[in-house]
Symmetry: C4
Subunit: 190 residues, 4 copies
């Protein structure tokens, strides 16, 4: 498959994921300010997940930069990444509509963990495909940032059932950490 | 990131926003003309927001015309713009399903204000990136039209709680004002 | 705006319209064959509207074939076409969920009429833009097919309140009539 | 129509199909683990259908590889394929929300059968268009894999009303069978 078709399909899926989450903001039946209160946690969750999808979209384009043809294996690893991201609207809604309760907070983290692990595997696969002089390899090195995120998600998941607030703060920290664009890759590839 | 991937992602998000708003037109259970009456305000709101998304899509493509590579900062400012626009289906539904009540009218304006401000910042950032001979700068000048819209939104927001009708008329005026395509930019870039 | 961005945005909107209509096929709560009966008219309506959106997508790509830059006016006429098509999921659902009652049948036709008229105006505008040797003009001539469809819709709309079945059959006939691809245009442009 | 516009429209439709299925995972009102139990079958069905859409997207790009212009007939056969795939969210939801009951299991298979048959016809049409030295023909031969899938679906459908579990296992086997990328085509076309 040509790279740009994979990219445009992934972009389509990410654009839909990011947009359907807004449908969870159920429209209040009354025009009072108090009718907005129950939506506040859902709105905060929307922001967090919007940022996460933004990050993935943002980083996704770095991956295939040097490949022109994409093999069947890469296609499926990419689909697995999209699969986990497609669950974000569900886990976001479950967490935020239940006042950030422990179990939904844990599941939210598990989906983030699975998505970031898929991303990591995808990255490794592409580096392998590119071979010895892989530009992506030069750009991300050992991808300490990616590994660190996975570790933080694991910590967050372990805390979720006891202190869900800690987990939520950790999810936020990882998000902020990634908003800063990956200048390493930009430097090497541009 | 290459410009065209940012454009196609933005187009995807805008296409979804513009289309899911139609889902708010709940299908009446009866085939009588009277069953359409409650939908009329929702339909009018749909038209207004459709025009707004159309305007943003319309103007959005001017922005990146001269850039080939898009930096991480621009990516995020663009995502912030999309974030505010993604709230339009919510604010449209809240306003129209509550008979254009004061508070929802105010919130509708706040989201328009945030979107237009994000657009303005995005424009400024791109001009900065393009440097001294920025074509976009030549095209939009000081973007009096953009600044004026922001001022009108601010006026509309202040009126919303007292005379929501004035605010709604102002939102409509700004929309009509922008439907007329930006010939300034077309002149310079074509 | 460059032609291909207008095309991909239109494709996006059409792809969403065609797909969200399937959401109206409410999933029955029981696994019995009888639970499918109420869905049958909705399914038939889905087929009809799917064909219509398919036809528009199909013909849409002919339009901009020879243009490289698209003017602001064309952009808005195209958006008006998309606006009317975006109402198809609503009119389809209203008609089919109310057993093809007269008024919804009429509204279904009105939306088709508005869409085809917008298409016709868009075509005329493009021919005007292309100038004297317009390839599109050579291809569609006076667009008898387009004009005829508009006339048939008008007839169908007038019958809707008295004999809705006649209108529905006319909608179907126009659809079948257009499924046959527009070889005139293919001949000239290829 | 140019090939790439057909591809991007198909990608759009497939991206929406794959993503709206996740909306069927209704968000539980309670944060308990037990509230997830009823979602488990829906989730399993989501995985299966996600894989199927992935497979179609995956294979779809092989088809038009050697064509630059797409005829009207091919456009409509492609739309028929998309039509059947667009029914997957419905049949998936009906099957999984009714505990994999016989009739919904049968309908799920019928839609798979119709989709794979449409795909087969599309393939044949393209081979015919390409003529004697068709690269697609060289790549897929007689498409034993495609024919075999159709046969397995037929068997699965016949078992559905008696032993739906057998049918479900057969659907899964065909899916796994196709996940392995079509190296035959990759070999010839690359």
């Amino acid at each position: 498959m040509e790279r740009n078709r994979l990219e445009s399909f992934s972009d389509g899926v990410l654009a839909i994921i990011i947009t359907i989450m807004v449908l969870e903001l159920g429209v209040p039946k009354s025009p009072d300010i108090s009718s907005l209160y129950p939506i506040i946690p859902i709105f905060l969750g929307y922001i967090l997940s919007f940022i996460y999808v933004g990050i993935y979209w943002n980083n996704h384009h770095h991956l295939f930069q040097t490949l022109h043809k994409v093999s069947g294996t890469l296609l499926w690893v990419n689909l697995i990444l999209l699969f986990w991201l497609s669950l974000l609207p569900f886990t976001t809604a479950w967490m935020t509509e239940n006042h950030f309760a422990p179990l939904p907070t844990m599941l939210y983290g598990i989906v983030l963990l699975m998505a970031s692990s898929s991303y990591f595997i995808l990255e490794k696969q592409i580096i392998k495909t590119e071979g010895k002089n892989s530009k992506l390899k030069q750009a991300v090195g050992n991808d300490t940032k990616g590994k660190l995120s996975i570790v933080v998600y694991l910590i967050a998941i372990s805390f979720a059932l006891i202190h869900p607030l800690i987990s939520q703060i950790l999810y936020l920290i990882v998000a902020i950490f990634w908003i800063i664009p990956d200048r390493r890759i930009e430097r090497v590839l541009d």
